[in-house]
Symmetry: C2
Subunit: 363 residues, 2 copies
């Protein structure tokens, strides 16, 4: 069994690491000369849309998956015509357009923050008048980790914003009063079976995920699972999907989905019976899904922009080190540390010890 | 960092899988054309003693380790002259000779079953007269998984045995009355720090390991750790070592050591904070050792000679599948299944369910 992955970054790398014990092989389609996943399989160096490369991928692989959502629709369709390719093109298309995504949530009775579709400065002026400041404006497509967005706080911030962001389709989101952010990672098999991991409490810094801690008794676990299942069933989804929420006094407000394995699920490599990576591989390959229970209290801390002293981290109790094999650059995710402990109190002490060593450079 | 491994079987394969998140690369020296570890690194196809291959290994790798103990002493010395090579030659030499091994145990006040050194039929006759039947006769070197040995039950079995086993140096071991077999996996760093995993209760079938279950409260844990530490310190050992014992009414009787990662430690991949494979890599690479605590009740079942229906195993709760990428052949270890559960009772039920599916062919 060989799985083709469109993209050769750390998510592809960790998918290959998860597939290795199952004796599944991988091919990565990536235009880079040395994408970090390439050490774990074959590398097709070509543009995502290169017809010859796509043909090679379908000719040599049994199933195809994607490491990110910004895959051109033509490429996805070309692949799906010839091989099982998951998640489906419709899921990728929805997830990469913030307006389509929020509209899907609303159609499934999933609450979202106040939003408005912005196709002109006039739209923006109207929406700000209705919703009030502050708001955040984001491009409908592309952009991640806080890129491609702008916060409007004062009325003088509003004028010219549409042009400033490139005159492209935008979405306006009202600020909401939330207690914390969570995500639920879920997986759906080819047969429609769905499993969820415990919800994860996430802490961001400068818009980039800093820390994720799975919660085994979060009061909104059932609601998060229900929402994730609605979306996956609606999209006839196959594979792992992450769903991010704001936790408010009124319950969950949907932020966004990621149609792939997700940074907030990295803890599951060591911390769950089956990791998000293995279950994504199982789902794409058509295998039965693995159990998603948490094995022990744990947390994941991102390594961003610069490495801490590795050996100092490894010397701390309960730490596991993930180096993505990427050159450090400000704001770039280059690794993560999983911290495990027998109880929550010990975990907190251990996480603090790791945080003291981190030298993240968020750019 | 690149580690050279002498041997390219499943132990090398799982070492490479454990090293991947640490961004450590591997080169395997193996005479086979497609050893199963080769998918995870570079493969030097040559005899273990090939001088050119050994030179390439030391020229391209930062440290060297071994997948098995039957490495020619000259090869080990040649490697160790140029690069850190662990475990040390003395440990390999001791572990591959059953008489040297048992003599070491005795010199460290570690109890062993009745034994005798057999260099002739006369030695054998004398030892049988002293120790009494039944006894087991083993070649001093080579042989594993029940190969290269013979049980003498009746006095007519004794005559001609020395010739029958090839006229090579032998060791005679008296039968002992034991309750069960355990092993302790331990790791020693370059700095002399030692860590032990919980002892493992092992069940063999036809001399081949069938099942291993780590025990978090075994009454002889401390004695097993003490014995393993004595041996490792005496040998100035670096890396993972397994130590097998018989549990008797009088305590532990030492059976044998394996100077490498060991089948009875495979459960630690999912079941411990840090696996035996990762800690062996950490030790050989000179990194701090990871925590060895068990994360959850778990068991390891070997897949031998023939694969069960994979998807049926994966569909059972709590199972993780390890396919070594080897062609099935009677008696050959081709994979294993790890079973995890939240409590011992559930574990037992789950293990029984997996055992029902196994179709092992022990040959």
């Amino acid at each position: 069994m060989r799985i083709g992955i469109v993209g050769g970054g750390q998510l592809g790398r960790m998918l290959a690491q998860a597939g290795a014990p199952l004796d599944i092989r991988f091919t990565f389609l990536d235009p880079g000369s040395e994408p970090c996943a390439a050490v774990h399989g074959q590398h097709l160096q070509a543009d995502w849309q290169d017809p010859e490369a796509l043909n090679t991928l379908t000719a040599t692989c049994d199933a195809i998956t994607f490491e990110f959502e910004n895959v051109p629709a033509e490429a996805v369709e070309r692949l799906a015509e010839r091989r099982p390719a998951y998640p489906p093109a419709s899921a990728l298309a929805t997830a990469r357009d913030r307006w389509l995504e929020k509209s899907l949530f609303r159609s499934l009775d999933i609450d979202v923050p106040p939003i408005a579709r912005i196709d002109s400065q006039a739209d923006l002026d109207t929406a700000v008048a209705e919703i009030g400041l502050p708001v955040v404006i984001k491009t409908r497509t592309m952009g991640y980790d806080g890129k491609g967005q702008k916060v409007l706080r004062e009325s003088e911030d509003v004028a010219g914003t549409f042009e400033e962001l490139g005159g492209v389709p935008l979405i306006l989101e009202g600020f909401i009063d939330f207690d914390h952010e969570i995500s639920v990672i879920a997986v759906r098999g080819r047969d429609g079976e769905i499993r969820h991991w415990p919800v994860v409490r996430n802490e961001h810094r400068q818009g980039i995920l800093h820390r994720s801690v799975p919660q085994v008794a979060h009061p909104l676990q059932a609601q998060a699972e229900d929402y994730a299942s609605r979306v996956m069933n609606e999209l006839d989804y196959v594979g792992v999907m992450a769903f991010e929420f704001f936790v408010t006094a009124a319950g969950l407000l949907a932020n966004e989905i990621a149609p792939r394995v997700h940074n907030s699920g990295h803890w599951s490599i060591e911390g769950a019976v089956t990791s998000q990576f293995e279950n994504h591989v199982r789902a794409v390959a058509g295998l039965p899904l693995g159990e998603t229970a948490r094995l022990a209290p744990c947390a994941m801390l991102n390594v961003i922009g610069a490495f801490p002293e590795r050996d100092a981290v490894l010397a701390l109790p309960g730490t596991r080190w993930h180096d993505y094999g990427k050159a450090p650059r400000p704001g770039r995710k280059i690794g993560h540390v999983t911290v495990l402990a027998a109880d929550d109190e010990t975990l907190e002490t251990r996480v603090e010890a790791v945080e003291t060593l981190l030298v993240n450079d968020l750019g």
